[in-house]
Amino acid sequence: MNEQNDILRNPACRENPFRMPEGYFDSLEERLMGRIAEENVAETQRKTKPVWRIIKPALTLAAMFALVFGMGYGVLSLTHTLDRGAAVEASGYATAEEELIRPASLINYYQASLAEESELDEETIINYLASELSFSDLAEIYAQSY
């Protein structure tokens, strides 16, 4: 290192160029003792409320769990209700559809209503129904009977 060019070796660099307000250090101790007294009072107040400081976070946690549980239960309930409705509707429609095309019920109907009024036998009735009426006619008759 070239000491001739080393500007930091100039003694002026190490001198203190800063000043402070007059009497600053004289009042420092009293200001500090005042601040420490305030800190002690604040610390005492914090220590006199230990029960609430313990309960508060526990209550907050319990409330959060209750909220999450309630939301989850609500979503599950709603979903389950919709599924059941659709199932009932689907099963009801399927049942009705099956009933419409079941030939035994139609035979029962005509046996009850016609056979009593005439001397026609069962075979004659069936042949007549099969030859004279369309599927939609048969469905309409059935719907009216039930």
Partner: protein
């Protein structure tokens, strides 16, 4: 009052007397150390008060394995670094702003060389600034600086050397070559 006398007073129950002894013994050294870090007097006052309050709160935990001197310097340096880092995270550099205001600062009596020097020091990263100030202005041994900053002596020597060269180059740019 010596460090031993302060600690003896504290352990015998005379806490306030011990604390006043501590403040009396260290207020000036710690003030100038903090002032060279943060530059502004009011900011220095805040950091210095925080330092002594923390020392008061921690004195019962002081084990005596380190000297009171290095322990207090550590608290003061950490307070200064926390202050400077807090300013950085807020998007500013109060120490740089303060350095730029030094020429019109009523609490700065330096000449052109000293003004340039402290502006160059203000541009260093906070921890490197602490290393430079403790070594250059206070001529603190690396062993003590290591205890204050909790950094190895090797790392401190490297940091100081880089800071020294950076500042020398910055001053050379600004000053007349006759210096």
């Amino acid at each position: 009052m010596t460090d031993q006398e302060i600690l003896q007073l504290y352990r015998s129950g005379e806490r306030e007397k011990a604390f006043r002894g501590l403040v009396s013994s260290y207020k000036e050294r710690l003030y100038w150390h903090i002032r060279r870090m943060v530059l502004d007097h009011d900011d220095t006052d805040d950091c210095l008060q925080n330092t002594f309050v923390k020392a008061w709160q921690s004195l019962d935990r002081f084990r005596g394995d380190a000297q009171l001197y290095t322990w207090l310097y550590r608290i003061a340096t950490n307070e200064s670094l926390t202050f400077l880092t807090r300013q950085q995270t807020r998007g500013g550099r109060l120490d740089l702003e303060a350095a730029n205001r030094l020429s019109t600062d009523p609490w700065f009596d330096g000449d052109k060389l000293q003004l340039s020097l402290h502006k160059a020091i203000a541009k260093l990263p906070p921890k490197q600034k602490a290393v430079f100030n403790l070594r250059y202005f206070e001529e603190m041994p690396y062993e003590k600086i290591s205890q204050v900053l909790e950094t190895s002596e090797g790392a401190l020597k490297a940091s100081y050397h880089h800071a020294y060269e950076k500042i020398k180059a910055a001053l050379k740019e600004e000053m007349d070559e006759k210096y």
